[in-house]
């Protein structure tokens, strides 16, 4: 089987609509949900100390629990923090099962040294991902190609593909970032 990675930034269907569709039996909505939040689940798991194989297992477990419990999710707008919370729990379970010697405490997780000082908490990560998914699609594509992709695409390439002038890319990117900041604030205020 090939291991092509799927773009995680292409859609902006609202979480509550995705949840509704998944409850109805819409398989494509289920796939969109995981393209969007699978990377969140795996990142949470990696931060807690799971290796990449374990993170894949955590993803499967979270998906099963989500499938079992989706009907009991009272506020579908909280899908992202809900999934991140399950991911956190399942990651500690997996570490406890497989590496009992590690004896991890929830608050002293083996974390990537980069995050020792300024560890972005699980909820922040969920909020960030949720906010990103609410950006207009062009912003998602632009930020993905200019800031997230490693190495990033050139302004020229992005301008050509988006039918924009190369000089407008910088200002648009900035607007997208500001918009992202606003969306994060809005989600923080609504307690999501």
């Amino acid at each position: 089987m090939s291991h092509r990675r799927h773009d995680w930034t292409v859609d902006r269907q609202l979480d509550q609509e995705l949840v509704k569709a998944c409850r109805r039996g819409d398989e494509e909505a289920w796939v969109v949900l995981w393209r969007r939040y699978g990377p969140l689940v795996k990142s949470v798991s990696r931060r807690i100390g799971c290796d990449s194989e374990e993170a894949r297992d955590v993803l499967q477990r979270v998906a099963l629990v989500a499938l079992e419990k989706l009907d009991s999710l009272r506020d579908p707008k909280k899908l992202a923090p809900w999934l991140a919370g399950i991911a956190r729990f399942q990651s500690f379970e997996i570490i406890r099962e497989r590496r009992p010697a590690a004896l991890l405490q929830e608050d002293t997780a083996v974390s990537n040294p980069r995050y020792d000082d300024e560890m972005v908490r699980t909820e922040d990560l969920a909020r960030l991902r949720q906010a990103f998914a609410q950006l207009e699609e062009r912003c998602q594509r632009l930020l993905q190609r200019l800031m997230l992709k490693e190495p990033p695409d050139s302004y020229q390439d992005v301008a050509r593909d988006e039918n924009l002038s190369a000089t407008s890319i910088g200002p648009i990117r900035l607007r997208c970032m500001k918009r992202l900041g606003k969306l994060i604030e809005k989600l923080s205020r609504s307690g999501s």
């Binding site: 291991h3 109805r24 490693e150």
Partner: protein
């Protein structure tokens, strides 16, 4: 100089800010923490972008949904049925009680469940084994016990087909095993304990 605007800060992160902005940053902790916040956001997004799902992962999730999702009962999956019980009289041929071994058959697989040692707070451990005679089929994956309400319990299934779920509360469960594309479901697994009335 006034505090840096968000635009300045973002430009700085990208290495495009004017030198006065850098000079301000060196002196102002407030702007430095704003910069750190944006750096963390960008790094976190990169991190998630790196964890984008591949075909194999999405395929497994699709299979899970097809097999266990709503309204998909017509999809092929193996429903395990009880074929043997070590209990003298298997009560209505249902599930597991302490000490008994229950053997289920599902497609090319056999599943054995028994209740093991007593855990804390009147819980028990559930020990299982999945086996097959079909050499082309592997063993592994995950086994889950799902109560009608409450916490789903999961265990990895090792390469010998063994799994162990500690601290399972007595009650009625649905068992689910999935491995790659394969799914087995066991309904009405009754977990009991010796000291029940």
């Amino acid at each position: 100089m006034d505090h840096l605007t968000e635009a300045h800060i973002i430009d700085l992160i990208e290495g495009e800010g004017p030198s006065e902005a850098e000079a301000h940053l060196a002196e102002c902790s407030q702007c430095r923490s704003a910069q750190r916040l944006w750096q963390e956001r960008i790094e976190s997004l990169r991190e998630m972008s790196r964890e984008s799902l591949d075909d194999a992962e999405l395929h497994r999730l699709r299979v899970l949904y097809r097999q266990l999702g709503p309204g998909k009962d017509q999809a092929p999956r193996w429903i395990a049925r009880l074929v043997r019980s070590s209990a003298a009289a298997p009560a209505a041929a249902r599930g597991v009680a302490s000490g008994e071994i229950m053997e289920y058959s599902a497609g090319p697989y056999t599943l054995m469940l028994r209740v093991g040692a007593q855990g804390s707070r009147s819980t028990v451990s559930v020990i299982g084994q999945i086996a097959t005679n079909d050499r082309d089929r592997g063993i592994g994956g995950t086994f889950a016990l799902t109560p009608p309400n409450g916490r789903v319990r999961l265990s990895d299934v090792d390469q010998f087909g063994e799994f162990n779920l500690p601290e399972v509360a007595p009650g009625s469960y649905r068992g689910t095993w999935w491995f790659g594309d394969q799914i087995m479901v066991v309904h009405d697994v009754e977990i009991g304990t010796d000291d029940e009335p």
